[in-house]
Symmetry: D3
Subunit: 158 residues, 6 copies
């Protein structure tokens, strides 16, 4: 028996039919982190406090990527996202930036992939902006934190 | 003094001028992993051995994302990539798939972001295809492993 | 009298107003074929049976193209497609692969162009993957086979 | 032995490495046709002679699609096309429009796929513009006619 | 107090939540102009009257850009536009082309940005097509003229 | 005689052949302005000084649009831009923001359209972010200011 909805009974990829699903309000929250040298984070924070462009650029990239999710992930459905927001938390002692996205939609399918894509592209953008000073940054712990709406109900990561 | 080449001396974002850089052959290798329940990995491997669509879809998504990197990462330069390849390694005991990408170009700037983007979007695609059976998958350890060519020479992750 | 809805009464291109049309479930089925040397088809089938990447790549390309139809065809409306599936039939004796797509939507306009675009881009992808061994392949017989839903009702190709 | 350059020795898809290929001037010519009721063609020609928007729209769609080829065909290399032109020939007695594209590039890989994509998307656009009056149109005979430049030299379809 | 809905209370960019807004029919009309040497306009009109490709190309570019607005303007919501039309008015004595777009949607947010983007990209396309003969063209007076639907009601530019 | 290089001798649109043109370093500078109520500009400046997201968002949108120019303007050649920078000047007394972009490339064709597109999309983004408080903003005076490199040499707007 095939448990992957994105593969048909012969194991072939397909975009699953959501036409029978209810139109409901759905929300997803995703999180991830990028770790770096403490000196790199200090440079970002200096720039951030004063002018903001490093983090602003990552936020805009993440928001635009959320909208572009069906163009990136082959079997994702096109969606009219209602909102996207991205927050950054700076863990100075750990040399880490935690990124959290929240995406909403009124539609027939969830926005987990949009939330995960937003976090990931925001992290990649930070990598890009800092790679001249620190090539050893690592992006980690990208995960779905929360999901509401739709038939499967509430998911809260344990 | 501003050490981030993507920000000008006032901290504003810019796409840095690469016109003075040499046209050389450049290569980047990136790696990442997606962890899941062992049962989820077993399902993928069953499908993979028999028909291949789950991993094939992730590979194609990663290759297409590598080409689309300048459309995703705001300050990346457009590039005519010479090659992209993505490999998947299955760690059955750890419930993990390791993804490695290798990108080449002959140009004035490196392909680190293309390699990192390929790995990341391949991982997100696996998440998408398996999320109906396992919402707790985690994408981690996305990093640059190797970089060759250009003024900064060889980088090998320690 | 102008019978082309995509041209206004002066013959100028426009995207027609669908706001007065009913939101209904709509479906379109399109078909096409790519003809090649029998030896080329045999090579694809060898790969297909064993590993699947040639046809998998064409299927993913076709699904992604269906989603991108309004970005390709100037006067097509943006749509939230509910599902896309693509099947391949191998006519070994004729040296031909027949490609069939099925697209569904709940919306104010049909998905004929999405189905036709899916078939066409899948065929072009097969051409791309095999052109090193066979440049004389021909893509033909791309047509709408079936259409359901909307004011014009059922269309079945005679 | 694997003869498909787009698949590695394990049959997995990859974007082949063109970095060792010579930068030369390359050209490709592709052709295709769309057949329709004679009355449909007569309507297009009436519009065409007087105002031109039906065919102009198809031409622009084809040119833009040629530029977008690497975004559509998964294993195509990004290219800086030097020129694209598309011609339409009206076969009034056969109820057919023949479409021919010519694409040039100075680069490391050919432009066959760009030429084929231009013809195909131009044909799909004509279908879209006329489908309100004729759903039975058929797109056929999409083929590479001519190819110059690169290691394989001149290809002329027999 | 922050009056910009696109910035949160900390001044950070976000895509505002429209999920609570009513689905209504909305319309926007935008206008703009491109000024040029009278001789340049005369050349366009000569070509336009005879064959139409200069203005047809600008119209198609504007329509496609309207559909692509959420891909261009970072905080715009994805929308399923119901219609787009673009008109061109030739002010021969002033050496000016006035461009007017009208966009409709049934949705939760307005289409001002779609209408403004359509006008702007149409004007840029005219610049591109004529720049070989006139580099001093100026695009001006891009403004919202009319807006209907939604909570804020009718806006008519004074 | 046809003086528009983007139209062939029959007045049909084409992407002109640049393969015979020299690869040189080319630069273009474009400028434009967005006018608004003084109170609107004051709000932007308050946000700008403190946190920067309004202007940062417009800058990122303009840079990404410059890279996307060949996807927007039908007959523009794909290009590997070497750099893009955008500056904003605040004319508080006039209620106006002046936007200036500078784009460089080493290639066979100029970057006027990239510079003009960057300015225009940055202006549209400011409109989008402020339209909740001021719908009467006007985008004007979009023009090419400077152009260097290529056969036609230096252009300086008089």
């Amino acid at each position: 028996m095939n448990k992957f909805s994105h593969l048909d009974r012969n194991g072939k990829a397909r975009m699953v039919d959501v036409s029978g699903k209810a139109v409901t309000t759905r929300e997803a929250v995703a999180r991830g982190a990028i770790s770096m040298k403490k000196a790199t984070l200090a440079l970002i924070l200096t720039n951030q406090v004063a002018k903001g462009d490093a983090i602003s650029t990552a936020r805009i990239a993440g928001i635009m990527a959320a909208k572009n999710t069906p163009g990136l992930i082959p079997l994702c459905h096109p969606l009219q996202i209602s909102s996207v927001g991205i927050d950054f938390y700076f863990e100075r002692k750990k040399g880490q930036i935690v990124i959290e996205s929240r995406v909403n939609v009124t539609g027939q399918t969830g926005v987990e992939m949009e939330a995960l894509t937003a976090v990931t592209v925001a992290a990649l953008t930070i990598y890009d902006m800092c790679k001249a000073v620190d090539k050893e940054m690592v992006i980690s712990d990208i995960m779905l934190v929360e999901k509401r709406g739709g038939k499967s109900g509430v998911f809260l990561r344990s």
